[in-house]
Symmetry: C2
Amino acid sequence: MARKPGSRAEITEPRLRAAALKLFARHGYAAVSMRQIAREVGLQAGALYQYISDKQGLLFDLMRGHMEELLSAWGASRPPAGDALARLEHFARFHIRFHAARADAVFVSYMELRNLSPGNFAAIEALRRRYEAELEAILRAGQDEGTMRLPDTRLAAMALIAMLTGVNTWFREGGRLSRAEVEDIYVDMVRKAVGA
Amino acid sequence: MARKPGSRAEITEPRLRAAALKLFARHGYAAVSMRQIAREVGLQAGALYQYISDKQGLLFDLMRGHMEELLSAWGASRPPAGDALARLEHFARFHIRFHAARADAVFVSYMELRNLSPGNFAAIEALRRRYEAELEAILRAGQDEGTMRLPDTRLAAMALIAMLTGVNTWFREGGRLSRAEVEDIYVDMVRKAVGA
DNA sequence: GTCTATACCACGATAGAC
DNA sequence: GTCTATCGTGGTATAGAC
């Protein structure tokens, strides 16, 4: 398929998304202007609307893309054969690893929920719930097996996810601890917390 | 001291701060206009500048006020005589209770850090560090006593604070569990997580 | 202490040339 | 596919009357 000379859409679109993600993470959705994003990509503001419907749609696409990647990466991860405790450890390592690799998307997806229109918010929340349900299922299995003892499954899931996601607030590659060391330390705390 | 007729500064100022806090929490600092805040208080936008230097100063004052209240409330709380484990439980209950009572201020103080000017950011970070150090001291004491076993004190502190603060993302008074029940459940997980 | 009025600037989004 | 130009709106902050 012949491409028009000067046509760079396949390059420009991902660059636009990357620039928007970076700027939204750094300064916040509301604080970033379309002109700023355009400058980062090397375009005039008007040209952005070849790729997006409006600013809200851009935010929503970024967040939905992140959540769908999260769910599909989890689905593609190979859970270990073994007891629920092994699967919990697998979840914790997956969560830390996936989130550490996409700090900007994680940040935007947690911080900009209130800037979504109601319909868009509901869609993102539904995706988040599906992910939380994966952890809850593991915790329920652990209790059925008797390898875990939890006062409340839903609260435990929320507590563990908050703890694991919190890694992103301070972890920097090249710091005092490697990502693998951080993983080990958190796995230890997670295993203990579920009463193993 | 005689007050000018029509003078309502002592009433207006706290109302302004409360309105700004509520709106910042709901929609985000960058998304809220001075006109919106003024409408909420029942003034014209220009009148707000009797009480604040500028929008940035307003945000900073709210956040500093929150952090200082947090530190002074913790200082005023009576830690139990007993081992570090008892003090850790005291910290967990204090943290959940204090934060649940000020959801808006907590939200703003965690979400709007990136909208602070560099100098203001450093000041808030310093206050946050002081609070984290309080928990770290308890965890160190527990390890010295031998009642806690932790792979890394600093990480454990960050993990526990993230977990406890996470309560605010889903807890609503009048929901499935009372605040006291939530406290008990989290205390249980915190105690287990430190290897008690 | 609060108002009205306004300076000045930036916003998101669109139209039409190239 | 990107540009220039622009529309209409709303932003923060100040000045000066009351």
